[in-house]
Amino acid sequence: MDLALKPEHKAFADEVRAFARENLSPATREKTFSGKHYDKADHVVWQQALGKKGWLTYTWPKKFGGPGWDVTQRFLFENVLAEEGAPRIIPFGVKMVGPVIYTFGTDEQKERFLPGIRSSEVAWCQGYSEPGAGSDLASLRTRAVRDGDHYIVNGQKTWTSFAHWGDWIFCLVRTNPDVKPQEGISFLLIDMKTPGVTVRPIIMLDGAHHVNDVFLDNVKVPVANRIGAENEGWTCAKFLLANERLGIAEVPASKRGVRSLRELNDDPALAEKIADVDLQVQALEMSELRALSAMAMGGQPGPEVSTLKVRGSEIQQRIAELAMEAVGEYAAPYQPGMLFHDTNETPVGPDHAPPAAPRYFNMRKTSIYGGSTEVQKNIVSKAILGL
């Protein structure tokens, strides 16, 4: 056991850093550090650069076009990119549907869908949640009825992140209403341009538009777009959720958050609170590395990833809270212009003031999405503690 990096890993980190400095647009980088919202182009341009280099799908096995990195390389890759101010990779294609397709899809499906994910030419979104099916995902009601070579899909998805940027949506749909909920679900890939797909924005408490309702009205989807067998979509769904929870702890971004807190703060009362969250990040990072290193020995992420998700979201929330505390009264002015648009205006208050409160508000989502904290704890108490 050893925490120190080998020389070849140091060289690798340098290579990643050089790549980021060359390919990450300064405007995008500036948004990261100033807390501005990214446009679609910020993500796409960056992800396509990574795609060209063969690094976008850095978690994929070599035979599906991944770079074949070890745990240390992945760790360095994520950390260096966060330090350089890169936007996080939007997970829906790379970390969610991609692995589902290469694990459960046919060869034809792999050939059809994986290249667009690897290059980031196709943007994906996740159609799991519905108004009546949040924590209780298996109760979903969007109905897909077989009609020859097609399914006719009717229903509503909600909270769909980036549906307004999406080319394709992967959906859980009900193909058999007469069995146990988990047994009548199928996994469908739907082209967002298909007639009958409508996207309606949901505005969040900080004024941002990231999530949407997606209405599916007699949408005709080829049977060839189903991944896995009919009524066996729940297997794909669970596989995907475990992957989702692993990536969602956002440790590298939290480390960046702690660093900028230190830079901004000159208040001794805050310094100890920052030290406290710094230590929490370290514990989380080490736990995540232990899980990853166990996985490298073979195997899928187990129920313990739920604890990482819970702590990761609490830590992100705490960092946002401290950043707001550091700003004080100047967190009060609402300055959407400074958050959502290119502008030459100077902010009201210090430079780091405009995003402080909106970010604190927005970060409350982290203990809700990807399975709420309560649901994660239910999983741990059942699956690990046997309660």
Partner: protein, 380 residues
């Protein structure tokens, strides 16, 4: 000891409650927030007519003598509806300082029309570097003939755009952060040399950055004594803190009620989510937090006119610590128990959550007041 409301106080409470119920539905509030001023003149006129603008002031000063308990009653109900009319800057802060330190002439010229609904105020104390420290003031007032000339900057001045007069805390002597050498001036909001940058706040209030460039005022603009403004503003801010605490208890009641209702009706896994014990206990903690908040607010309201300054300061800081803690707990819990709905703009919970968050930041957050309380407790 008697902790119950008198008949008159109950009537007041019911009156404000009715106003909030009728005029401050969620949809209505959105419209008010988006209106030109961010509040409605017709509502303000109604406040004047019903005598609410006279509530904290003595009969001598033209008020109705309900004192801090009256303010508490009004602000608590306002909190339930997230009322946007500028009662705090105008009545509690502006009116409060004029009543406490104004000359007979100033009371006649400023307080009387305020009570009639014809004048509004704003308090400009904060500067970029102040960070909750009331005495950290560098805006300078220098002698100019018989009067004074004010130059410098103030920030996050609530209600500045609507205020007829802005009460400015300025340095007339001493060094930065010294309590001595501060003077309060009543400055016409439209005076030459004033420029404002107006903006809405996170919680739909209105505030401004203000630059004072050689703004001339007469000798009669001084409120209280020259160099002796600090105790006046300190007490006014303490009273405002207690009023804010009352508003926050109203917010907590409302957000708790909305959450309780939600977890009784939202179903997952075939049952109302309120059947899950982890949510039940969290809801119980929300109620306990709101109760503690109400208790500390009441205690502070009863002590805020004590003769002993230390007692007053401790009461205000103590209540503010409790409000910071309880407000955060109730706000975060409400959002969490609403799931995705909690983080949208579409339900009232997120709006209460934002207001509770901003209340913590106003006039010093939980940490600031814990330190202030601790220092006062050691000194006493």
């Amino acid at each position: 000891m008697d902790l119950s409301l008198s008949d008159e106080q109950k009537q007041l409470q019911e009156g404000v409650e009715r106003f909030v119920r009728e005029k401050y539905t969620f949809e209505n509030r959105k419209k008010i927030a988006a209106s030109e001023r961010g509040w409605l003149p017709e509502n303000w006129a109604q406040f004047a007519e019903l005598g609410w603008l006279a509530i904290p002031f003595s009969e001598e000063d033209g008020g109705i003598g309900f004192g801090p308990i009256g303010t508490m009653i009004v602000m608590e109900q306002f909190g339930k509806g997230l009322v946007l009319e500028p009662f705090l800057p105008t009545v509690v802060l502006g009116g409060g300082m004029i009543a406490a330190a104004g000359t007979a002439a100033q009371k006649e010229a400023l307080l009387a029309p305020m009570i009639e609904g014809k004048k509004q105020f704003a308090l400009a104390w904060l500067e970029r570097q102040s960070r909750y420290n009331l005495a950290d003031v560098s805006l300078k007032a220098t002698k100019e003939g018989n009067g004074w000339s004010l130059s410098g900057q103030k920030g996050v001045v609530y209600n500045a755009a609507s205020a007829d007069d802005i009460i400015v805390l300025a340095r007339t002597a001493g060094s930065a952060r010294e309590e001595k050498g501060l003077t309060l001036f009543v400055v016409d909001g439209k005076a030459k040399g004033i420029t404002r940058r107006d903006y809405p706040t996170q919680d739909a209030q209105r505030a401004s950055e203000i630059t004072f460039d050689k703004v001339s005022v007469g000798a009669d603009a001084v409120l209280g004594t020259v160099d002796g403004g600090f105790p006046v503003v300190e007490d006014a801010v303490d009273r405002a803190i207690v009023a804010l605490c009352a508003e926050a208890t109203g917010c907590m009641d409302a957000i708790n009620a909305a959450t309780l209702d939600y977890i009784k009706t939202r179903k997952q896994f075939g049952v109302a989510i309120g059947k899950f014990q982890v949510l039940q206990h969290r809801m119980v903690d929300c109620f306990t937090n709101a109760q503690e908040a109400r208790s500390m607010t009441l205690m502070a309201s009863l002590k805020i006119e004590d003769k002993d300054a230390i007692v007053r300061h401790k009461a205000a800081s103590g209540a503010k610590v409790q409000i910071g803690k309880s407000g955060k707990f109730c706000g975060q819990s409400a959002v969490q128990m609403h799931g995705g709905m909690g983080v949208t703009d579409e339900l009232s919970v997120s709006h209460y959550f934002k207001r509770l968050t901003m209340i913590d930041l106003m006039f010093g957050n939980q940490q600031h007041h814990l330190t202030r309380y601790s220092n006062l407790a050691i000194a006493a």
